[in-house]
Amino acid sequence: MPDVELVNIKIDGKDLQVPKGEKIIESAKRIGVEVPFFCYHPRLSMEEGGANCRMCLVEVAAKGPDGTVRKMPKPQTACSLPASEGMEIVTESEPLANDRRGVLEFLLINHPLDCPICDRGGECPLQNNALHYGPPTTRFIEEKRHFPKAFPLSEYVVFDRERCIHCARCTRFTTDISGDAQLNFLKRGADMEVGTFEQTDFHSKFSGNVIELCPVGALLSRAYRFKARPWDLVTQRSICTQCSNGCNIKIDSRTSKLQRVNARLNEDVNEEWTCDKGKFGMDYVSADDRLTQPMIRKEGKLVPATWSEANALIVQQLRAAGKLVGGIGGARSSNEDLFAWQRLFRETLGVNNLDHRMGPNFPAANAGLYQRFGYHTMGNSIAELERMKSILVIGSDLVDEQPMIFLRVRKAWRRHGASVVEANPKSMDDAESPNRVGEFASVSLKYRPGTEVALLCALINVMVGEKLLPDSSAALRPAKAMVDSWAPGEAAKECGLAADVIHRAARLLATRDMAIVAGRTITDHPHAEQLLDALGNLAVITGNPGNFNVPVTANNQQGAMDMGILPDLLPGYAPAEAPGMNSQQMLEAASHGGLQVLWVVGSDLVNEFHDPALARRALQNCPFVIVNALTLPETAALADVVLPVHSIAEGDGTVTNVERRVQRYWKAFEISPYIHPGWLVFGEIGAQLTGRPPYASAKEVLREIAATIPIYGNISFKSLGDQGIRWQYPVSDRKPPEMTAIEYKSPVSASLHQN
């Protein structure tokens, strides 16, 4: 924390010191005084329409210019009042009780009071405040406001206008946090209502958050509506599996069925937000077609079988296959499953044919990045991005690939004044997306696909040419020729841009605390390595070697790398002595009969592999295919044995998110005792092959992970708590990264030749 000026204030007669300018409602919390409120939310700005519910009124005496403390004639809203020296606050008094009763009476006169059929009933701030502060009865005998119930705002959200108390939390969320500004107030006075302009759909990628923000039952989830009463729900802490960000969530279930997902606070990851993929996409864990027993192919058809039958068959096949075994997938499995899996393959079967990647590029685990910068994926943590002065988002549909990083980048811009530069290929069409980096980026560079290197060199060219950097001539040397050859004018022609935008972007990016976030367009690029080198040059020349981020995209992809689900690296990134085959090589081998057994873990290979035809050919031609799955996707339908395994809701374990934060999840419910955790499946096969007892619990696997992998050395269920631990690379005396020469083949001249 930088130096914060403290002021002395008095709340309900108690003296305390608080940072100057802190809102009184927060100061009161420090001494356990709760001031009731509806519209206040610490993450939503006051300027955009706060202090409107008037519930948090307190009596205030403030120090005037002459130094005397005088009581202000009107009560003040504690949510918006900044603490100043000598301020004296009273939060409980007879007049204040009248004020609060008055506000609640006003809020209730037009509220339908249909609590018995309201989803919010039982967890409703309006109910709670009415209980503590409200009038016992009403004096309102006129007719209430009436609207049709359940107006559909979008596919996910319905809106009950009768229940709305106009607190502006939802409208402020869409302007302030998600940035789509979809919800706003229409009309005025008592007719004022929340809506979208021109009654279009509320098509935000973060729309689900307004359901949780709503202090009454006005904004409701269409999926959850009328499904349960809050007190019937069992809540369990979990981690969202929809992408690599690893948002902390709460799974609310009833009768072993997921009913809804709410965000769980984690300041370092998702704060208290979720994206719609996470909020509404987790219902797969309770899908009706979940497998509840193993399936074995008999006479061409998959038929139910017992675990002992399935295991016996697998053991028989593995014994016969020798080293002609391959394993693909795992980017969505837990660390425990993956560790047990690689141990079965490496220790018991003696093969390194393991890969979680779906292509098209199979670099040696981002080796280039690691060798140069000392990390494999992200240099920054998610939260660090918020404090950057400028951020380059390149080749990424950020909101889809990394929703929480998107929110942080936007927060950096909106709250902390960071400049954002967006660089995306012209082919990326996100014009219709409600949440775009381009919406708030200072400069948007829409370049011709394939010309990234020219663009990046031109940025450095401008920085050097305009002397925007401290003396960089020595550092620049290895890349100087290339940088010199891309004057902004040249690059503008090459990239299909105006030269002045390159200048403007370079001026914004030539600073310390500049971060680069590279997206899927970069990592899936045919020349991905050159691109990463060129981006690395930009990070190095601007003095930001620690701020280069190439985030992974699948849920536990980072964990799969850490656990060594790679043909060339053992757990903890130790190099394998005899590297195995990568996914591409395994599938090619399998398609020619070069593999006897292929084990696909938690992946619908036919739909996820970059070359579906090859995947299908491989599955058809491989003599024995084992698939661990939740349901029967296309890949499983081509298998010889399908094993039903736990989803994240059914077991304990850990996953590692995009910023290397190892996070724990807890068992929420059980669907069937015949669905097994992944680690148990691999452990039992290993036991039958070697006689070594299988693992007894996920905890035991994690203990072994900690014992085996130094970077996970301090990680246990206990140490993780419910906020997780970000593992750190060991301190090393590696020399600082340097500029490198880059090769570049112009797609422009190539296409000219073709024509």
């Binding site: 006051m46 300027e47 329409g49 706060g50 202090a51 409107n52 519910c53 008037r54 519930m55 009124l57 403030a62 004639p73 009107k74 009560p75 003040q76 809203t77 918006s80 009042l81 900044p82 100043s84 009248n98 004020d99 008055g102 506000v103 009476e105 006003f106 809020l107 006169i109 037009n110 004096r139 309102f140 005998i141 006129e142 007719e143 108390i165 106009h166 502006a168 706003n184 107030f185 009309k187 005025r188 006075g189 008592a190 007719d191 004022m192």
Partner: protein, 444 residues
């Protein structure tokens, strides 16, 4: 005291809206003088004059002018609040229509004194004619060199004035809501000091902003031309100068009257030709938002900020409405409360819900469904709004209701008991039938 015409002195001169005529009668002399003065000297003259804001609140003008930062790290803005929406007030409308140059001159003087380069006139959307007059006046001022680059030949003093038309919301006359509206946001008030920064520090576009009423700016040229001390000779000890009152209602000669501050309430009525159609029943001296003043309480009340406050009412924006004894107070308040329910912006709970509730109760009373408990209920709702709302609109909706009950409780009781007007049936407007079954139950 007779009329004391300062601003309106040449109102009836033909062609006074044109710059030549305006200059002929001494127009732009104040501006020419001010560009030769030190900036602080102008503010000091305003301070000496004792000028107070003419928009309704009566805040000392010089404090605002002096509060603008003396550096120019950020652009400074001069805003003119011409969103005259207070029922009963029409002085700004006529000032802009007849004497647009006077306000423009005042804005330029203000712009010079606070080192601003840009001024905005936020004109009420319905004032199309006035806006056209201001538009023509601005164009003439540009041609004459009073606007644009190097105003009045003063090197380095550039000043532009833009017109922004409102879209029909009363709330946008509230200064912070006006700034929201000017910036293209929803016309709702913003956090005020100490919750947010003062406009003079961070107003529109987060820049130092000076915002005054049309009439306030119109006073500035006279003060600069003749000196603050000259201006301070007029009026009372604390309320200086003259004030334009828009006289309407049951009077023989409605219109705008400029009088010296401190003129007795009843004298202004005489100036406007006296009451017509009966005897005087009550006066609302400062626009519909201020508490009503019954005829028998008018004696000894003068039209200055202090005397009006002592009598339990306000000078406000000068919307002086006189009522004769055919006026039904409950119907008057029903119409007034309808206005505030309609104009509440909806931002805060007390005003949004309370104003509509009050109107519904009045509707029920004049439909014959009044209950004896309604009077206390109205008073109680007023207590729950007054001082609890986000901006002063809520207060303004509560004050007149409360004052009318204080002075005319018997008329309310008559309505509730008999279901008809105590002053005859002639003035009952059509009101919606009350069909609420709940109400029938309560009545039975």
């Amino acid at each position: 005291m007779p009329e004391l015409k300062l601003l309106l002195k040449h109102r009836d001169e033909p062609g006074i809206e044109n710059i030549e005529t305006y200059e002929k009668f001494g127009g732009y002399a104040g501006l020419k003088k001010s560009v030769t003065m030190e900036r602080q000297a102008i503010i000091d003259e305003i301070k000496t004059s004792g000028l107070r804001g003419r928009g309704g609140a009566g805040f000392p003008t010089w404090i605002k002018w002096n509060g603008i930062p003396k550096d120019t790290a950020k652009q400074h803005y001069v805003l003119c609040n011409a969103d005259e929406g207070e029922p009963g007030t029409f002085k700004d409308r006529e000032l802009m229509l007849k004497l647009p140059h006077m306000t423009i001159e005042g804005m330029i003087i203000a712009g010079y004194s606070i080192q601003s380069q840009a001024g905005y006139v936020y004109i009420r959307g319905e004032f199309v004619e006035s806006a056209l007059a201001v538009r023509r006046a601005i164009d003439q001022a540009y041609k004459a060199g009073y606007l644009g680059k190097n105003v009045c030949g003063k090197a380095g003093f550039d000043f532009d004035i833009h017109i922004h038309m409102g879209a029909g919301s009363y709330e946008c006359g509230e200064e912070s809501a006006l700034m929201s509206s000017l910036m293209g946001e929803r016309g709702q008030p913003r956090l005020k000091f100490p919750h947010g920064p003062l406009p003079v520090i961070a107003g529109v576009w987060n820049s130092p902003t000076l915002i005054n009423n049309v009439e306030t700016y119109a006073c500035a040229p006279h003060i600069i031309a003749n000196g603050g001390a000259w201006y301070a000779e007029m009026g009372t000890e604390k309320s200086k100068g003259t004030k334009i009152f828009s006289v309407s209602g049951h009077v023989a000669k409605p219109g705008n009257y400029e009088i010296e501050m401190g003129t007795p309430v009843l004298e202004l009525l005489e100036l406007a030709g006296g009451i017509t159609g009966g005897k005087l029943k009550a006066i609302i001296p400062g626009g519909s938002s201020v508490p009503i003043l019954p005829a028998d309480k008018c004696d000894g009340v003068n039209l200055d900020y202090e005397s009006a406050a002592a009598a339990g009412t306000m000078v406000g924006s000068g919307g002086y409405i006189a009522f004769n004894d055919s006026t039904d107070i409950v119907l008057l308040m029903r119409r007034t409360s309808e206005f505030y329910a309609h104009e509440s912006c909806g931002k805060c709970t007390p005003c949004r819900e309370g104003t509509r509730w009050i109107f519904k109760i009045y509707d029920r009373i004049v439909s014959g469904g009044g209950l004896p408990s309604d009077i206390d209920l109205l008073l109680n709702i007023c207590d729950q709004i007054d001082g609890r709302s986000f901006c002063a609109l809520g207060d303004a909706a509560a004050w007149p209701v409360r004052a009318s009950i204080k002075h005319y409780r018997h008329e309310y009781e008559y309505w509730i008991k008999h279901g008809k007007s105590p002053v005859g049936d002639h003035c009952v407007p059509p009101v919606p039938q009350v069909l609420n079954p709940l109400l029938t139950l309560t009545l039975a």
